[in-house]
Symmetry: C2
Subunit: 190 residues, 2 copies
């Protein structure tokens, strides 16, 4: 998605060789017009599938995911993160280690809001090592629903999550795939 790549080049800040800060349009300040375009693009990419539900994880994924769900005319569910284990029988849970925050989170979704047999599209802002995406896919499978694909805004393709999950059969559509990045040489896309 050229509009997104241009924006990353213009406003993304590379720290070291693996942190890409896009706080100014995605993770803290949000450009709603760009989120709308991203939602339209995910709708176009997955238009060959019947989508019953969009699933994302709080908090940065919500803005793009709500736009995507609007284009599909289906509900959005956002998984909740907590550092305590929710033992309720009414939720699906999975674990996700956050390399950004160096913490293990428990990811939960109420059993009321994913149903067996549904086609679920997962949306997330970043894909790097794939921990969050694995946890979301795991919850979809626990519910007996079908993870028909994942729409990712920015994939750090130099980390192994995308390659591993594609090898496991998950369809992943990433709007910007970063091949390499550094403070000196900037960002190169695939």
């Amino acid at each position: 998605m050229q509009q997104l790549k241009d924006r990353i080049k213009k406003d993304g800040v590379v720290i070291g060789n693996d942190v890409l800060k896009v706080d100014c349009f995605l993770n803290h300040q949000i450009d709603p017009m760009l989120m709308d375009s991203i939602g339209a693009e995910f709708h176009r990419l997955f238009s060959d599938q019947k989508i019953d539900r969009v699933l994302t994880i709080e908090a940065s994924g919500i803005a793009a995911a709500v736009m995507t769900a609007k284009y599909f005319g289906c509900p959005l569910v956002f998984a909740k993160k907590s550092r305590t284990v929710n033992q309720s029988a009414n939720v699906y849970t999975s674990k996700a280690f956050s390399f950004t925050h160096k913490t293990e989170n428990t990811v939960t979704v109420s059993k009321e809001y994913i149903h067996a047999g549904e086609n679920v599209l997962i949306i997330d802002d970043f894909l790097a090592n794939g921990c969050a995406l694995r946890a979301l896919r795991d919850i979809v499978i626990q519910a007996g629903a079908i993870p028909v694909g994942a729409g990712i805004i920015i994939e750090k393709a130099f980390q192994n999550g995308g390659a591993e999950l594609r090898a496991e059969g998950l369809r992943i559509e990433s709007l910007a795939r970063v091949k390499s990045m550094s403070e000196t040489d900037g960002i190169e896309f695939i």
Copy 2:
């Protein structure tokens, strides 16, 4: 907003006399078409003001706030909640006690994303005792910006936050104002 009140009556679950669970369209599962209508309504209500920026707080406020910001054609910023104090000189911070979770959160917004003199519209999903809204207004004022108003999806008008903040001069537009509620008698709106 009649569409919202009807939805609350239909799908809201009252627990005791003060908890209103709207997990199925607002706080966990989200109805994107309703969020779009809510964004349009906040735009209509505050169309007499020039809005430079929408401010909300993670996570449940983001969906409605991004739609609102899209109608205004301005950026959205979402404040972050954490239980640890972020001592960085680069953020505005304020405290908000969560009665729901019985915890005190530190609310932070990067200084990069609110500027002196800007007209800021605050959007949040619930207004009860007003703690979160006070923290957001406090951050706007710290930045030297103008809190031109607050758009609230559901106000529990039987709690004191709305009355107190209006008495302090904050303009609040609530789309549904709950006068009283109980498990037996249901929900009554003002």
